[in-house]
Symmetry: C2
DNA sequence: GTGATTGCAAACTTTTTGCATCCGA
DNA sequence: TCGGATGCAAAAAGTTTGCAATCAC
């Protein structure tokens, strides 16, 4: 079940909230950049192209709302700012895409995504052992990307781990 | 291989850095609170008990140093501040303890730890498929803890997921 | 003695909040 | 019309930095 713009409007109305240009544009910008990991500032700059009078505070208030509506995910790549990604079932043709994790290169800062559903077993395990009910997860791997590794090897350095 | 205070002093000297009371105390406080997830402010308050003249900036500079020396880990529980945990092999009798993940309750904010080594297979998988060399990871689960779940059930509410 | 380290205060960055105005329903 | 939503500016919160004084070696 993928959420369309029409469904988003319905969801807003059902909650007694108003459909505004700002809200539609924030979600649209996130949808158009589903491969990026956008900060509030990134979203602000892009929405401003279509709607120059928007304020940064509105971006923050809107992503908060979208988080609560579970239409976007929040991720933190440990670079000092929170980032937002549109949900896998929101606004897209990506009906098959499931969870993905982030691979963060400590050398160049690049962030790769890695699709995977293997955590479901672990989640079941956690629920059985602790009674904690898992609703969502965030998994980051820190290390060195292929390119940085090759670059290091070319420089004749020994790869120390 | 567990790192003792003596080894920490050696590591500092080997890097041409000085052994100061402040550095020893920060690591000691982290070691004494390995079950907590300490913010810079938490560490500051505790070190101040033994060393009232310490400044918050020193805490930040020291944890940065300890991170680089891989004696502590940084975690982010999405509550607005970065947290620090002493490394599993640092200053402890916990030679068998391996990786652990964090279970964050969205209702009461409590953070539980869950020991597990199941991610190693996934890391191998990632290295094979992408060439990304994994050095560390951080895994958080968001959901509802046992107590909050029971409380909700007692109130007669239907548990919606 | 000398260079690394510290404490303090100021600067900086990201995010939140108060409030008058505006706008969707 | 009316209450929710917005833009702006100010405030808050967390972290970093410059610098003179201090301390470890």
């Amino acid at each position: 079940m993928s959420v369309s713009q029409e469904e988003f409007k319905e969801m807003l109305k059902k909650k007694g909230l108003k459909v505004t240009n700002q809200r539609l544009l924030v979600l649209e910008v996130l949808a158009e950049n589903r491969d990026r990991h956008m900060t509030a500032e990134d979203i602000y700059e892009l929405v401003k192209e279509d709607y120059p009078e928007i304020g940064l505070a509105t971006i923050y208030r809107t992503v908060q709302l979208l988080l609560e509506m579970q239409l976007v995910d929040r991720i933190n790549l440990d670079d000092g700012c929170v980032r937002y990604e549109i949900g896998e079932n929101t606004y897209g043709d990506t009906n098959g895409k499931h969870h993905h994790h982030h691979l963060i290169c400590r050398d160049c800062g690049k962030v790769l995504s890695f699709k995977d559903d293997l955590l479901e077993e672990l989640e079941r395990h956690i629920e059985e052992e602790t009674g904690f009910h898992v609703q969502n997860h965030e998994l980051k791997f820190f290390g060195q990307c292929k390119e940085c590794r090759e670059k290091q090897n070319q420089n004749g350095k020994h790869v120390e781990v």
